[in-house]
């Protein structure tokens, strides 16, 4: 999906501002303390 469009609509903030200031983090870029929680949920469904 187009996250920029979705978030722009949701927050009522122009998409160019969202693109300029937003940070899109997929799982490979999550901090360790988030990855640990993700792994725990996968191991304890």
């Amino acid at each position: 999906m187009n996250y920029y469009n979705y978030i722009s609509d949701y927050l009522s903030i122009p998409i160019d501002i969202i693109k300029k200031s937003g940070r899109l983090l997929s799982i490979e870029n999550w901090p360790d303390y988030f990855t640990r929680q993700f792994d725990f949920l996968n191991d304890n469904p």
């Binding site: 999906m1 996250y3 979705y6 978030i7 949701y10 927050l11 009522s12 903030i13 501002i17 969202i18 200031s21 937003g22 940070r23 899109l24 983090l25 997929s26 799982i27 999550w30 901090p31 303390y33 988030f34 929680q37 993700f38 725990f40 949920l41 996968n42 304890n44 469904p45």
Partner: protein, 139 residues
């Protein structure tokens, strides 16, 4: 097993997240598999109350049971004698249970969690709900 590896974290400046009067640093968008948060949530370098796994649990449950049942669960009390629907519903109960199981595995006490959550509200019904969930998880 629901695949959560395509969940996306999207952070925006703190001022942009302070929208709609919500007093929070992050929130899950279940259908979109998105966790929207402010910069502070990422930059503080810690997640002391494990709110990330709470948001993931919401997305997981939504993806597992679908929108209709998810919405139904949001309006169904877990403890009939507690006089509130938030967080005393089947959606929040699941997410807080997962959150507390994770905190327990990390050696974090139920007391720490209670103290941390009191910064948001001291409502007696909410406190009662948390105490019962903690009692169940830490037994």
């Amino acid at each position: 097993m629901i695949i959560l590896s395509d969940v996306v974290l999207f952070s925006i400046p703190n001022k942009d997240f302070a929208f709609k009067g919500k007093n929070r640093t992050s929130e899950a968008h279940y259908k979109q598999k998105l966790i929207l948060c402010n910069y502070e949530y990422i930059d503080r370098g810690d997640d002391p109350n494990a709110s990330f796994i709470h948001n993931l649990a919401h997305i997981q449950q939504y993806q597992q049971i679908g929108e209709d049942l998810f919405n139904k669960y949001q309006s169904e009390k877990v403890f009939k004698d507690i006089d509130c629907i938030y967080p005393n519903n089947k959606v929040e109960s699941y997410a807080f249970s997962i959150e507390l199981k994770y905190l327990k595995s990390m050696g974090v006490s139920g007391e720490f969690f209670m103290k941390f959550m009191s910064r948001y509200s001291n409502d007696a019904n909410r406190e009662d709900f948390f105490k019962r969930i903690i009692r169940d998880i830490y037994k």
